[in-house]
């Protein structure tokens, strides 16, 4: 007998207060119910459960950094009910066997639905297509394919991948990074990289691949998704492609919306990420692109790393930062509090749209009678100081340590079951 929850006085997407009944995994509007656990949600906002299209769960292979269980616990704490687990595990998720394993681990953990992303090429090697169809037909029903961490830089291979996944309505999510232009790259290429003596990662290395890929997608009539867009020029290119009718979608990461490359001057690798933190003008262009829909979604690129891979000199450190537990707060701070996006917009960028791109049926649905009860309750008036030790992740590499962020996830419901309640993992 599962618990039902009567959520009273909740503001759905920031609208007028109402009551929601979550029962048998489904939403019932305004209903009353004897025996339901009552949650006073006065002042809280209800959003559809968040969907992350870009999460590194590290399992199999790097269970010292994160496991499917720990990563999905962090996801639930961040208000997510579904995450897409990137393929750059060890072994790489390039076969039906590996994606089914990750999918099954997610089901067993039960904090969040896990949708494995399949590798585009065998071993992320960029040489030969992986068995994309087998992954699509597996129990994991893979629809998103990515060599994330590496770029599918070979134009012919990218073209074939874009074409091939049409057979099962898949999408190729490109990590746009021209490899020759970024050999040894450490940070955004600009005046600061020159001063700090850190090898530059130029914006053109991202933009050149995006330009090529939107033209390829147009040419073969496929859909393309661009991971972690980080530059103003990329936003401009995607805006142009969409205007031309190319079936392209794009994501921005919370850290690129908020943080800028001047943090590299600390030489603290907690700020080392790929693509790198960019200029303030780039961050502003990303926020504008996210506001006007050029950038379709926010994706976390949650990238856990063990302490020793960050507690070292910059060049030796791993790329990546945690993101699941802070994403909604960063979006509130950078977008909602600045008047760039309302809560309906947040629901679109962090739930509806990513679910649509990932072809996930039961997530990203409206909060309405009869819909699956995947819901997050969020207190936008709260504030908190980020303490890495409180993270559910096995890793501690958050760039927001000590920062005061707005908002707090009060509860997360996955098919009507609370994974987080009163701000505590259940």
């Amino acid at each position: 007998m599962s618990t039902s929850y009567l959520i009273k006085n909740v503001s759905v997407l920031g609208g007028e207060p109402t009551d929601l009944l979550l029962k048998d995994g489904v939403v019932h509007e305004g209903a009353d119910e004897a025996g339901a656990e009552v949650i006073d949600a006065t002042g809280l906002i209800a959003l559809p459960g968040l969907v992350d299209l870009h999460t590194h769960l590290r399992e199999p292979g790097r269970e010292d950094a994160e496991t499917v269980e720990s990563g999905t616990r962090a996801a639930a704490m961040g208000g997510f009910t579904a995450v897409h687990a990137m393929a750059n595990t060890e072994p790489v998720a390039d076969t039906a066997g590996v994606v089914e394993q990750v999918w099954r681990l997610g089901r067993e953990a039960g904090y969040c639905d896990v949708y494995p992303v399949g590798a585009v090429t065998v071993g992320l090697g960029g040489q030969q297509l992986a068995e994309l169809g087998a992954m699509a037909d597996s129990a994991a029903r893979v629809r998103v394919f990515s060599d994330d961490g590496k770029c599918v830089s070979d134009a012919v291979l990218m073209r074939r991948a874009l074409e091939y996944v049409k057979a099962f309505d898949g999408v190729v999510a490109q990590h746009a990074q021209e490899p020759r232009l970024t050999e040894g790259a450490q940070m955004n290429e600009g005046p600061l990289s020159g001063r700090l003596g850190l090898a530059g990662w130029p914006a053109v290395a991202e933009e050149a691949i995006i330009a090529r890929d939107v033209l390829l997608a147009d040419h073969v009539g496929s859909r393309l998704h661009v991971c972690h867009v980080s530059t103003a020029g990329s936003v401009e290119l995607i805006r142009w492609a969409k205007g031309k009718g190319v079936d392209v979608t794009a994501e921005a990461c919370p850290h690129h919306l908020l943080l800028t490359d001047d943090l590299a001057a600390t030489y603290d690798p907690v700020y080392k990420v790929n693509p790198p933190l960019r200029s303030a003008a780039d961050a502003e262009a990303l926020r504008a692109g996210l506001a006007d829909g050029t950038i379709d979604i926010v994706a976390t690129d949650h990238a856990p790393h063990p302490h020793e891979d960050k507690d070292c000199e910059w060049a030796a450190a791993a790329f990546g930062m945690l993101g699941l537990e802070t994403a909604l707060s960063i979006v509130q701070q950078t977008m909602v509090d600045r008047g760039l996006l309302d809560w309906a917009g947040v629901a679109d960028r962090m739930s509806h749209a990513p679910a649509r791109i990932g072809r996930v049926a039961d997530h990203g649905r409206p909060i309405a009678a009869g819909e699956p009860a995947n819901i997050v309750l969020y207190d936008p008036a709260a504030t908190r100081v980020v303490d890495p030790a409180e993270s559910q992740s096995l890793s501690r590499n958050t760039p927001y340590r000590g920062m005061e962020l707005p908002g707090r996830v009060v509860a997360t419901f996955l098919r009507g079951r609370a994974t987080v309640l009163d701000g505590k993992l259940q």
Binding site: L196, G197, Y267, E308, C312
Partner: protein, 318 residues
């Protein structure tokens, strides 16, 4: 002065002039039969070298020993880049040994900064060259050398002096530190290199830039040639060594266009025949060997000022 010397930007004009003045006092020691002072007796200086650099290490070692410090040379084979012992663990080891100053050379830009600011060690950190970032004591010894030859007034001021720094600016920690320090000291710096060997954003540095060596050097008071590693060719930064030498090398023909008082410098090690020809390196106006001598005095001054105290380094004579 700050507690660490990580970048030439850490030095105010007053700081830099104090180092140069102190170095000048200490330089006199080199001409005495007994070259040793008791200033740092009982203090421990660790030379932590993750990269081979015999000349810089022995320069720091001589400097510390002439101030009577105990010197520990720690040649750390491999860094965490090559999965050796991590920088952090090495630092903790040195801390446990009671180092008062750590002189660090590392292949990764910012490694001395990490050492100084991660809470791993309490000692002063001196950057002896980090990656393609900085080499502040080299800049100090270069400024000291220039000041001796070109300085005006009682302080040996470099105000308005023109310095051309020529070569692989992109990968040069010497160029970065010199550009910053010489600017602080009032000199006018022009960096000369092919466009491929300038970093992006060099326009924001406090220097002039030029692609034309012949146009720059007749006006220069000092010409500093930077080493150009042959492996840069394979990176496609320039077509051939011969073309590089023709356009950016300092040879006898170019030397003839210099003013009479103009000095030629090189931080070493030189690649004779590449960026500098033998006749130029060995010419009277070349101060390359003197730079080495001055390096010891400047490093003594740096160690003394970071570790020592307010007392004059060479005392009791007036």
């Amino acid at each position: 002065m700050k507690r660490h010397l990580l970048s030439a930007a850490d030095l105010s004009r007053d700081d830099a002039e104090l180092v140069l003045r102190t170095a000048a006092e200490l330089r006199e020691l080199a001409d005495r039969p007994i070259k040793k002072l008791p200033a740092l007796r009982g203090r421990t200086v660790v030379n932590l070298f993750f990269e081979d650099s015999t000349r810089t290490r022995i320069s720091f070692e001589a400097a510390a020993k002439r101030l009577s410090a105990d010197v520990i040379n720690f040649a750390a084979k491999g860094s965490s880049l090559s999965k050796g012992e991590s920088l952090k663990d090495t630092a903790l080891t040195l801390e446990a040994m009671g180092a008062d100053a750590v002189v660090v050379r590392h292949g990764a830009s910012g490694a001395p900064h990490r050492l100084a600011h991660s809470g791993w060690v309490r000692s002063s950190v001196v950057n002896a060259g980090d990656g393609t970032h900085e080499h502040p004591t080299q800049a100090l010894l270069d400024a000291f050398t220039m000041s001796r030859h070109l300085g005006t007034g009682p302080k040996g001021s470099l105000d308005g002096r023109r310095v051309a720094i020529v070569g692989d600016v992109l990968h040069s920690r010497v160029a970065r530190s010199n550009a910053l320090l010489l600017n602080t000291l009032g000199a006018e710096v022009t960096l000369v290199a092919p466009p491929t060997l300038f970093p992006v954003g060099v326009e924001s540095w406090p220097v002039e830039i030029s692609y034309d060596l012949d146009a720059v050097i007749p006006k220069a008071d000092a010409v500093m040639m930077l080493r150009v590693q042959r492996e840069r060719m394979s990176g496609g930064f320039f077509p051939t060594a011969r073309e590089y030498s023709r356009r950016y090398g300092l040879d006898g023909r170019r030397m003839a266009t210099l003013q009479d008082h103009t000095i030629v410098m090189h931080p070493g090690p030189m690649v004779r025949g590449m960026e500098i020809t033998a006749d130029v390196a060995d010419a009277d106006r070349s101060v390359i060997v003197e730079q080495v001598t001055n390096g010891v005095a400047v490093r003594m001054a740096v160690l003394y000022l970071l570790l020592g105290g307010s007392e004059p380094a060479v005392g009791g004579e007036e």
